[in-house]
């Protein structure tokens, strides 16, 4: 892969946190641990790059750093040829429209006092102030329709929706600005199996339609196996294996990848 092809490139990202003990604990490097430890990655336009790992491995910290929602201690992030880590906060705000996030918990990530059409239209107010209110509304309705929620839902409030419908609202809000990269942090883990499968199918369709690049964060290898083109296996702040999805799933090289694969409870084949 050449540099031109990489939509997002990170080099030697690090983030250390204080280890327990609260406000009175001893400071200094010896009492910290590396949540993310010199991680480098490249994500090509159009691919679905998945980071898989167990709780506490640093995958969410890494994803948030890539969007600069958490400041890295050191390292460099280049998005679409611009160094994100060097942007001022005003420049970063403008760049953010191209980098959106879908969260795990659709219950917690939607403002309960806003109508669904307002929730979806809100990013347009910030990033496209030239649009009229009616235009914003029309764009929000169109996006809601695209994710499977027709106009009758638009005037309702988040609490009136099921988990799957709320996740659709979250996806509509993330896509309204036509971002280039969508970071999806455990997008199906709070959902029922049948609804989670609908969401994976929807994400796959939208990727085709809008030419999206995905960074998928998940603890579940079966979920990752459905949509990823490349997989990074993360443990204790570092990638232990990165590769083509097919390769990682079929010919895992690292012992930890093998252990994760072996722990997945398997379903027998349906014969009839």
């Amino acid at each position: 892969m050449t540099d031109q092809e990489a939509l997002l490139q990170a080099t030697e990202l690090c983030k250390r946190y204080q280890r327990g003990g609260g406000a009175f604990a001893a400071r200094g490097a010896r009492n910290t641990f590396a949540a993310v430890d010199r991680v480098s990655l490249r994500i090509a336009a159009g691919e679905t790059f998945a980071i898989v790992g167990e709780s506490g491995c640093g995958k969410t910290t890494l994803a948030r750093m890539l969007l600069r929602l958490i400041e890295p201690d050191s390292g460099k992030i280049i998005f679409a040829g611009r160094e994100l880590t060097a942007l001022s906060s005003a420049e970063l705000r403008r760049a953010r429209r191209h980098l959106q996030m879908v969260f795990q918990d659709p219950y917690a990530s939607l403002n309960p006092r806003m109508r669904v059409s307002q929730i979806v239209a809100e990013p347009l107010e910030i990033h496209e102030p030239a649009l009229s209110r009616a235009e914003r509304q029309e764009r929000a309705l169109a996006m809601l329709r695209r994710v499977g929620l027709n106009d009758e839902f638009a005037t309702r409030y988040p609490h009136e929706f099921s988990g799957g419908q709320r996740q659709r609202i979250g996806i509509a809000r993330a896509l309204i600005l036509r971002p280039r990269l969508v970071v999806a942090d455990e997008p199906v883990s709070a959902l029922d199996v049948s609804v989670g499968a609908q969401m994976l199918a929807l994400l796959r369709e939208l990727q085709q339609e809008f030419g999206l690049t995905y960074l998928l964060i998940s603890h579940s290898l079966p979920v990752v196996a459905q949509v990823a083109t490349r997989i990074a296996v993360m443990r204790a702040g570092a990638f232990v294996e990165v590769g083509d999805a097919e390769q990682v799933l079929r010919q895992p090289q690292h012992a930890y990848t093998k252990e994760l694969l072996a722990a997945v409870p398997e379903l027998p084949q349906v014969t009839a």
Binding site: E54, S162, G196, L200, A225, E266, L267
Partner: protein
């Protein structure tokens, strides 16, 4: 010999602002000693409400009908859990039926040492046990759940333990008073897969060693395939399919079971088919089969009345009008 647990036509009704609903509707199932029944369903299927009913923990205002016979000892008579009074429940909960829940952190007391909590569970059923005896039995219970260094762990608080260890502590508490039936509600859902694997292995081992009957509630068909002997699939309060686990998972008869299997992601790439539509609200169930609106094989008669559970063979049944007909042909056509 009668089954350890024999549930007959159990129905739970709950009042809502939009009328009464039945989160558990005419459910019948049996669990023999040493046997694990997997109970599978998505949110709103009624699987958790069923487990609460079996532990006498239904919410205020709930009505319960039917029978649930527990036959915990060869010497004593069976008792109908549906007819138990609150005083009688104390001996049953923990003593005859143990429970393990999804999130150990919310079930453990955060300001009490782990060993003391296990000791309390033992003392609740043996109030005259001496301190030395309690201590000995606490360590034995922790050791039985493969808690490493039980003497050290017993002195710790729940937040000092990992999620997997907390679940082991929960299991040791649930089994401390020697129940014959264990109800495990999503016991591994909050755990990492590698830890889940260890906890499932532990439960399998305890089940063998103690001849435990187990009701294992989960949404994960892969987990069911691993732990259960038989499986019951629930949808909107009713059992829609019931049979030996391997047979149900490899030759599913109910369209919902088929749909769930097809929707479950596996390590095979890009091979999942979502079930269209959403689970209907219990306040808004159709008059016929509740799955009909999402079913690719829907017929006119599906909307007329709720289908009976039909026998596929002696051990396997499904609540679908297509059972015994050319389901296979339809299934192929749809693929």
């Amino acid at each position: 010999m009668p089954a350890l647990l024999d549930v007959q036509h159990l129905t739970v009704e709950l009042p809502t602002s939009r009328g009464w609903v039945r989160p558990v509707h005419d459910v019948s199932l049996r669990i023999a000693a040493g046997e694990t029944l997997g109970l599978v369903g998505e949110s709103g299927s009624g699987k958790t409400m069923l487990s609460l009913a079996l532990m006498g923990l239904l919410p205020q205002g709930a009505k319960i009908r039917g029978e649930a016979w527990l036959n915990a000892s060869a010497s004593a008579a069976s008792k109908n859990l549906v007819a138990l009074r609150e005083n009688d429940w104390r001996a049953v909960r923990g003593g005859e039926i143990g429970m393990v829940f999804q999130e150990p952190m919310t079930s453990l007391n955060p300001v009490m040492r782990v060993g003391k909590q296990v000791a309390e569970a033992i003392r609740a059923h043996d109030p005259h046990a001496s301190r030395a005896d309690l201590q000995r039995r606490t360590l034995k219970a922790l050791r039985r759940a493969s808690v490493p260094e039980p003497e050290t762990r017993a002195e710790q608080f729940p937040h000092q333990l990992s999620g997997g260890l907390r679940q082991r502590v929960m299991i040791s508490m649930a089994l401390a008073a020697g129940p014959k039936l264990l109800i495990a509600d999503e016991p591994t859902t909050a755990l990492d897969v590698t830890v889940q694997k260890q906890v499932l292995a532990l439960l399998a081992e305890l089940r063998r060693a103690m001849q435990l009957g187990m009701l294992f509630i989960t949404h994960d068909l892969g987990v069911v395939a691993q732990v259960a002997d038989r499986v019951a699939v629930m949808y909107t309060g009713r059992v829609v399919e019931h049979g030996p686990v391997r047979e149900v998972l490899t030759r599913p008869q109910h369209p919902y079971t088929k749909g769930l299997l097809a929707a479950s992601p596996t390590l095979e790439r890009g091979k999942f088919l979502p079930i269209p539509g959403i689970v209907p609200q219990l306040t808004d169930l159709p008059p016929g089969c509740a799955f009909a609106p999402r079913c690719p094989w829907r017929r006119v008669e599906c909307d007329a009345a709720v289908p009976e559970l039909r026998a596929v063979n002696a051990d396997h049944s499904a609540r679908c009008v297509l059972v015994g007909e050319a389901v296979q042909a339809g299934h192929e056509a749809c693929r």
